[in-house]
Amino acid sequence: MRICEPATADGHQTGVIQETFNTVFRRSISIWAAALLLATLNILLFAYEKPWTAADGLRNWGDWFLQAAGWQSLLPTLPPSLYSGSVLNAGLLAGAVASALLSRQFALQIAPPAELAKGLLGGVLMGVGAVLAMGCNVGGFYSALSAMSLSGVSMMVGLGLGAWLGVRYMMWEMVKFPRLSSGSGRSFWGASGSGRSRQPWMGGLCLLLIAGVVFLYSHYGFGQRGGLLLIGVLLGTVLQRSRFCLVRAFRDPFLDGNSEMTRVAALSLAISAIGFAILKSADLRPATAFVFASFWKGSLVGGAIFGLGMVLAGGCGAGALWRAGEGHIKLWCALMGFAFASAVAWRVLEQGGWLSRLGTAVFLPDVSGWPLALAATLAVLAIWYVLAAWNERTRSVAAM
């Protein structure tokens, strides 16, 4: 049986296995469905260990590299194979690779040199911004806002500012220096639209390898890490299949006015916030989790730097991971810049005693009680949703 053909729309008979394969591995997931799945996975992650963040694991990779190069941190560095954030990121990346292969969307894509440089620079900005804000787009905004940390709101404002600045730069560059992003890009190993491809088989092999690694974790007494790897694989799969993207949520209103990803992100955040509120208010998980002492200076300034970086790179921490898994070399550059810069920035701030001066930790329910805190969080999201929808009609802040 040939199981790598897409289902045909013209009533052509397809087998049950093929149909199941196509539904699970081949067809894209709507971003609205992805919003629900990602929020659910984030709640599951919080229940399992701690909320979703990409910056933490990326910094671990940078730390590990710096330590190997002889620059010791004041805190001991766990090896990436055992550090939870690193395992989650590795799972996300592996899940995206498997998902891209299974859906025949993998290709080694090499952008023109100036684009690769922009990826690296964007990654460096994100790394620095994530240290100042104490989290990335996901950890410092999505999860922190869900966790009722006021730093999530100030980072949201910063991310908006940075995204606006990034869009201004990109428009300017495209008009003044169109050649920087023209012509010399390459793509290898792509699968043709019709006919056979080895990619689904390679994707299946990836899944087997992942299963093998989970087995090894379990066998050596680190079953908990194996679980994190699996949640990462699910995150990577959902992200790649849906192309859910928090960068778009901040960028598109300023770019072409499209509001769909912004509205999707607001919905996903609302679900995640309700889930987190249940886990925290029932004392199932610690109230202080993901309430960062970066309100408001660190999260606002860090958010703005991160926002600019994510627009230049074309992906935030998690977005860079799943697009790197699809074969985009520009996002590999962004990941390297992110990991390295965040590890360096952390050490500089740590050794200069700056980490405690980035702001205060404000847990909204401590200020106003649970009902008002949850209502205020949902109101912020509703305003974001309505503003984006309004801007799509009026194009008030859209650049093109």
Binding site: V175, S187, G314
Partner: protein, 80 residues
């Protein structure tokens, strides 16, 4: 499909979201009404993006296909 006269080709191979859309918007502005732009991209997101783009900007998407090397090819007619 019959041979289509192409007035300009835009190669977005290797570029990630949102560059193909931005460059397409820019390129279509420089064409006259009725002229056709060919755009080649390698990002898997470009298929959905171009469909949404042509609806939003009301230009006619004459073709959207996957090439044998896995890249995507679009033909867009400027309609206004």
């Amino acid at each position: 499909m019959a041979e289509q006269i192409i007035d300009r080709t835009l190669d977005c191979t290797g570029l990630t979201c949102p560059m193909p859309i931005m460059k397409t918007t820019h390129a279509i502005r420089e064409l006259r009404v009725g002229q056709v732009l060919e755009m080649i991209a390698s990002d898997p997101g470009s298929m959905a993006d171009m469909e949404a783009w042509s609806k939003q900007n009301q230009h006619e998407l004459l073709a959207a296909e996957t090439l044998s090397d896995g890249r995507f090819r679009f033909l867009i007619r400027k309609t206004h």
